[in-house]
């Protein structure tokens, strides 16, 4: 070592002493600490419960609590909306009883007479073939949320399984890494088209097609974390004591990953919903007879050029954004809360 810069070290020490002084007075530093009999008797018992602390930590985040209630209300509303009075089905083409022509592109809030003779207010107007946009949006949200949640669950299950094998079993690492390099470079479009060609178009086909490629990212994510914690001392100790591999995985590794897996799942729901919009855009999505946010946005897109009809694009996108942002923020907050390091 070359010369030590004395002045800076001295300055450093001074700084440390100054800091210490701020907290305790000189006198306090040199008096005996109190001896408390009851403190000695205290043992290591704590009534700590992981999930309890997680939920308490989560409940402290007001934004997340607000948004999760938004999500819950939205989901409940998508189911009760068709049962409310004065609703028309999302697919019903509403005709003018006098002319027999459909009510095309009615502006939001227009009140008209329906075929059955009753009058009806189209809260969000109608689309270009006379279907109610209000019911369409709720039916679409239901479909899109369903797709998003199911795909996220499949991705998580398959991804976690493969990710653990990939990360934990050394012999498989090379194989899976190469497999990943290959699969990651096969265009998703080919898979989507082939699946669409083999199976009839519909929600289950789309879910299958999306999960076929979606698990790869999750598996790699899990693998990277498993690699980091695989050889930590506590796992080494378990292995030396002869713990079964399955027990190490389920008791040592997975609990450590809960918060990360939850975060990844919560983020994959909005991502999948957005992906559905994209797939519909390139023409491989759900058939037009299924209401989904992707279909609605795609139809709305064609109305973009006429400013008065832009509501058909704006309402679905606004609802879509509310859903995705809520999931995103809630997911982040939950993962923060699920991290045991943040529990005090």
């Amino acid at each position: 070592m070359a010369k030590i810069k004395n002045p800076s070290i001295a300055a450093m020490e001074e700084e440390i002493y100054r800091k210490a002084d701020e907290q305790m007075s000189e006198q306090e530093l040199f008096t005996f600490a109190k001896f408390d009999e009851s403190e000695v008797e205290r043992t290591g018992y704590s009534n700590y419960s992981y999930w309890g602390s997680t939920f308490r930590a989560f409940a402290r985040n007001k934004t997340a609590m607000f948004l999760i209630s938004v999500v819950v209300l939205l989901v409940i509303f998508t189911f009760i909306q068709p049962m409310l009075p004065n609703q028309v089905s999302a697919f019903q083409v509403n005709n003018n009883p006098e002319t027999g022509l459909p009510y095309r592109n009615l502006l939001p809030g227009t009140e008209v007479r329906l075929m059955e003779g009753r009058s009806h207010t189209f809260i969000l107007g109608t689309n270009s073939i006379g279907q109610d946009l209000w019911s369409g949006i709720w039916a679409g949200t239901r479909t899109s949320l369903f797709i998003g949640v199911v795909v996220a669950c499949i991705e998580a299950i398959v991804g976690i399984l493969i990710g653990i094998l990939w990360g934990y079993v050394r012999k498989l690492d090379f194989f899976f890494t190469e497999l990943y390099n290959v699969l990651d470079n096969i265009p998703v479009t080919i898979v989507l088209i082939l699946v669409a060609y083999i199976l009839p178009a519909g929600i289950s086909t789309l879910i299958l097609a999306m999960s076929l490629t979606g698990w790869i990212g999750m598996a790699r994510f899990i693998r990277n974390f498993i690699l980091i914690i695989r050889d930590r001392e506590y796992n080494l100790a378990s292995r030396c004591l002869g713990t079964k591999t399955s027990k190490i995985i389920f008791k040592n590794l997975l609990p450590y990953l809960v918060s990360i897996i939850m975060l990844r799942m919560a983020l994959s729901i909005p991502a999948n919903i957005g992906y559905e919009v994209f797939i519909t855009y390139i023409g491989l999505g759900l058939p037009a007879t299924v209401a989904s946010l992707g279909n609605l946005i795609n139809v709305g897109r064609s109305m973009m050029l006429s400013p008065s009809l832009r509501y058909q694009l704006i309402y679905p996108t606004v609802l879509l954004s509310i859903v995705t942002i809520s999931f995103y923020v809630v997911g982040n907050a939950f993962s923060d809360a699920a991290d045991p390091k943040s529990h005090v």
Binding site: S8, A11, M12, E15, I16, E178, N181, V182, D184, N185, I186, P187, T189, I190, V191, I193, L194, Y197, L267, P270, I273, G274, Y275, V277, F278, Y281, I282, G283, I297, R301, M304, L305, R310, L313, T317, L320, S321, T324, I325, F327, Y328, V329, N332
Partner: protein, 313 residues
């Protein structure tokens, strides 16, 4: 290090061959109807003749061998559907520069805005600017790109008073596509840089620098930024190359004659040669991006080395 890169490249070659084979086999599973626009009206003989012309009546290994032989000899094949009997290279030649120009601009913009944003967010952690930036990042990441791209196009063209579609000669029409392409990257860079810088700022050397009495700005820019930038570097080549390849969505929104929408288009129209060449191009770019990322990290951070020769120093 050269040895390591050589090994990586060799493995990449094997990966490429496997990818090409799989894509090739997958494309051959496509329905025969897709090859002929007027399939219903054609006779059996016509169909067989057509298949023969395309070489699709041969057994799969023979077709595969033919493709690889062509690739090795530098013959990428000719397009059949997209533009009949035109060599693929000729179709791609005018498209690639446009995508590269757009992509480079987008990356430049994202670096210019993303890195300072991340640094400032870390510098003023927990203050107003941090919250503002986090709001922006959450918005960009949570709202599907498909949605905000539309609104940028919708209102951006109104504000700038330009036409909806892209025109190579009119520089104003470049603004919105570049903006749309860079927004995602800005959020991404800012988010990770902030994360790394915040992680870094609790380390011992920062404590030491603080105790030494360095100013907050000096610590942030001279010490933390340099260390936090190392893990970022790994992503840069990949994100650069991905952006250069072009975005399907943006290019088709503005009808930019680039590479982006091409792949989806030719897959749907079952132009097998085009699909093969584009997949080859994209896969090569992706793998090279990964290798470049690792190399850049080693160059920037002398503490990291490619495992094989430990203790060589």
């Amino acid at each position: 290090m050269l040895l390591y890169i050589g090994k990586r490249l060799l493995r990449a070659l094997v990966t490429l061959v496997i990818i090409m084979t799989i894509v090739f086999v997958l494309m051959r599973q496509m329905p025969i109807e897709g090859y002929f626009p007027n399939y219903d009206k054609m006779s059996r003989a016509q169909i067989e003749n057509g298949l023969h012309q395309m070489g699709l009546d041969q057994p799969m290994p023979v077709q595969l061998w033919r493709m690889f032989k062509g690739l090795v000899q530098g013959d990428l094949g000719t397009s059949r559907v997209y533009r009949n009997n035109v060599p693929v290279t000729k179709i791609l030649a005018p498209k690639i520069p446009i995508s590269i120009k757009l992509g480079s601009m987008a990356i430049l913009v994202s670096l210019i805005f993303g890195l300072p944003m991340g640094t400032l967010m870390a510098r003023y952690k927990g203050k107003f600017f941090d919250h503002l930036g986090t709001g922006f990042i959450v918005f960009i990441q949570a709202v599907p790109a498909a949605v905000y791209f539309l609104f940028i196009q919708l209102y951006g063209t109104e504000v700038l008073k330009i036409q909806l579609l892209f025109d190579v000669k009119n520089w104003k029409t470049w603004i919105l596509p570049v903006l749309s392409m860079s927004l995602g990257n800005i959020a991404y860079y800012a988010m990770w840089l902030r994360r790394y810088m915040v992680d870094e700022s609790s380390k011992d050397y920062v404590q030491l620098a603080k105790i030494k009495g360095l100013s907050q700005n000096k610590i942030m820019f001279r010490h933390i930024f340099r260390n936090a930038f190392v893990p970022m570097v790994q992503y840069l080549p990949t994100s650069f190359l991905n952006t250069v390849i072009g975005s399907i969505y943006i290019e088709s929104l503005y009808s930019i004659p680039g590479m982006g929408g091409l792949l989806v288009d030719v897959i749907k129209r079952q132009d097998n040669t085009m699909v093969q060449v584009i997949v080859l191009l994209f896969a090569t770019v992706g793998i090279i991006g990964l290798i470049l990322g690792d190399v850049a990290m080693v160059i920037l951070d002398p503490r990291i080395s490619f495992g094989s020769r430990k203790g060589g120093r």
